[in-house]
């Protein structure tokens, strides 16, 4: 009778596993340390500014490197307004585009068309900025802004001198940049709405549009909202394209034609020229503000999008 000689057990198998686990832990440790380090460094860098200005930093409108008086309010205003314009425009166009792709487009062109729109997301921001600066700004200065002022100039937001650069132009370029985010996620969410709901709607004698408008889109509401919030987060953080078309001026004006500043664009514009410590610290504090703002917005978006997909998967 043949007995199989037992394989000499390799002690190194146990060792290999130990090394393996250690390596995994090391990687995880580096990652966690990086994240924490990021927060720590931002707070540490802002400390001088926080000590010097305290909470007033958030409400001061002066941004004066010469006198070392720094306040974040103009930048907060600029970020909020430009992002608001962006999300307003991008959500309408984006949701409508997604609806077309998901519901009305013939199947053969739906995917290629969707891929085309998604290409918008791949364009580097400096290219957007370049196009915005040399194409959009002149067009706005020569045509769009004057028309808006002529028709709606009684509104404070369309009053005032026209430069071409400014909040409105920045909002529009941001809108184009975040459009693919809204569109792609909304399309996923809309497609995920169950067939039964659509068929039930059509069976009631509704047109395709009515079914889409009254049944499908409302069912996808939470996910679409999540997509918009996520896109808003992108708009808040966009730096390069914004700084090229917003005018880079730390003032708060009622007009959308006025040049402005955002939290991110001021850092991009002034960091390498910041001379004094408190100047640098103030800029880093703006970075910290940006971090907090983006954390809140993205966290909210994550909750929304997760709730949609976990519901549909019946978890």
């Amino acid at each position: 009778m043949t007995t199989n000689p037992p394989q000499r057990p390799k002690r190194s198998a146990v060792q290999a596993d130990r090394i393996f686990l250690a390596t995994l832990w090391a990687a995880v440790g580096i990652f966690a340390a990086t994240m924490l380090g990021l927060i720590v460094q931002l707070i540490h860098g802002s400390w001088q500014s926080i000590l010097t200005f305290g909470f007033k930093f958030l409400v001061t409108t002066t941004w004066n490197p010469v006198t070392s008086q720094f306040g974040a309010l103009p930048m907060i205003y600029g970020t909020v307004v430009s992002s608001a314009i962006a999300i307003l425009l991008a959500s309408v166009v984006g949701i409508a585009s997604a609806t077309f792709l998901a519901e009305f487009a013939p199947r053969r062109i739906a995917q290629p068309l969707a891929s085309l729109i998604e290409l918008l997301a791949a364009v580097p921001s400096v290219v957007y900025g370049l196009w915005g600066l040399f194409v959009l700004v002149p067009i706005f200065r020569a045509y769009v802004d004057p028309i808006l002022q002529a028709r709606l100039g009684f509104l404070p937001i369309f009053s005032g001198p026209i430069y071409g650069v400014g909040l409105l132009t920045a909002g529009v370029i941001l809108a184009i940049m975040i459009l693919p985010t809204v569109s792609a996620i909304s399309r996923d969410v809309i497609t995920a709405v169950g067939r039964e709901q659509r068929e039930a709607g059509m069976a009631l004698g509704s047109t395709k549009w009515e079914t889409t408008w009254r049944i499908v889109l409302p069912a996808a509401r939470a996910g679409i909202f999540g997509a918009c919030v996520l896109a808003l987060g992108r708009a808040i953080g966009e730096t390069i394209a914004t700084t090229m078309v917003i005018g880079n001026k730390a003032t708060i004006a009622a007009s959308l034609f006025a040049p402005s500043y955002t939290l991110s664009s001021v850092i991009a514009n002034e960091f390498t020229e910041a001379t004094s410590d408190v100047y640098i610290s103030s800029l880093i504090e703006l970075g910290l503000l940006l971090f907090v703002l983006s954390f809140i917005v993205n966290g909210f978006a994550r909750v929304l999008v997760n709730s949609v997909f976990s519901k549909s998967e019946g978890r």
Partner: protein, 286 residues
């Protein structure tokens, strides 16, 4: 009896009109979106194509005010900076993904995922500030390496999330078959399961590369840029998107011309990498 009929009919027409308007509006919007894309790509191509030539790709920038020159050092710099970033981000990202796939339950793992998602949405300029405070300020030296750190941090969440999903996606039976052969956890995971997921992981890496290739903001105070040849990662280095930015906001017409050319090169590069990423995914599904 005929009155309800009439009302019904006119109501029907109104409904069909509204429906047509609705659908038409969505069509208009998608045409707008497509139009914007084509306008941007078209303009960049038209403005840039005449300036993209062999000289542009192989020469160094000329001094301010002098016409001509190229972005060769920026192209090389981009490759170096993105390359180092990839080398840093891939091992950490994939291994963290492996950890989450193997031991992914509990508060610690959920916290890691939360951190990863938060990081994914973080403005790149804040990440640049982080790299600045750790790797530029203490050494009083701009460097390509600090830029690579920033880029690696940007790439990490994507690689972690995709690696975890891809590894989870490998059927349990494959993992079990590996264990049943008496293979250690290390051998089963790294030599059978992870290779089975390599298509998706490769795609994520390529998408990450495409993303950071188009990033400029962190470079402003990490790599800082340069007019000269530079391959030492601990020195300031030129980078293509940074050059485009610098040229674009300058007052010189010739630099504007070069900005368009550089933008065209940059866009083509990013599109090619994206295409490769899609091929990697469909290739692995065979």
């Amino acid at each position: 009896m005929s009155v309800p009929d009439l009302r019904e009919r006119s109501n029907k027409t109104a409904r069909y009109v509204w429906s047509a308007i609705g659908v038409g509006f969505t069509l208009l919007c998608i045409l707008l979106a497509a139009g914007a894309l084509l306008a941007i790509l078209g303009y960049v191509t038209v403005q840039g194509i005449s300036s993209v030539n062999w000289a542009f790709v192989t020469e160094l920038p000329r001094p301010v005010g002098v016409t001509g020159g190229g972005v060769a050092n920026g192209i090389v710099g981009s490759i170096i900076i993105v390359g180092i970033a990839t080398v840093i981000a891939v091992p950490i990202g994939v291994l963290t993904g492996v950890y989450l796939a193997l031991f992914g339950r509990g508060v610690f793992a959920e916290t890691l995922r939360l951190l990863s998602d938060v990081l994914a949405g973080l403005p790149s300029i804040a990440i640049g500030l982080f790299a600045y405070t750790l790797f530029v300020a203490p050494f009083k030296q701009f460097s390509a390496f600090s830029a690579s750190i920033a880029f690696a941090v940007i790439m990490l969440p994507l690689i972690i999330r995709t690696s975890e999903e891809a590894i989870r996606g490998v059927p349990r039976t494959v993992r079990e078959a590996g264990f049943a052969l008496g293979l250690s956890r290390y051998a089963t995971t790294m030599k059978i399961v992870v290779p089975a997921a390599r298509g998706a992981i490769l795609t994520a890496i390529l998408l990450g590369i495409a993303r950071v290739t188009g990033e400029t903001a962190p470079l402003l105070f990490t790599a800082f840029g340069s007019q000269f040849w530079e391959i030492n990662p601990f020195h300031p280095m030129a980078e293509l998107s940074l050059q485009v930015f610098t040229y674009a906001i300058s007052p010189y017409d010739d630099w504007h011309r070069q900005a368009w050319a550089g933008a065209l090169l940059l866009t083509i590069a990013v599109f090619i990498i994206n295409l490769l990423a899609r091929f990697a995914l469909s290739f692995s599904k065979r």
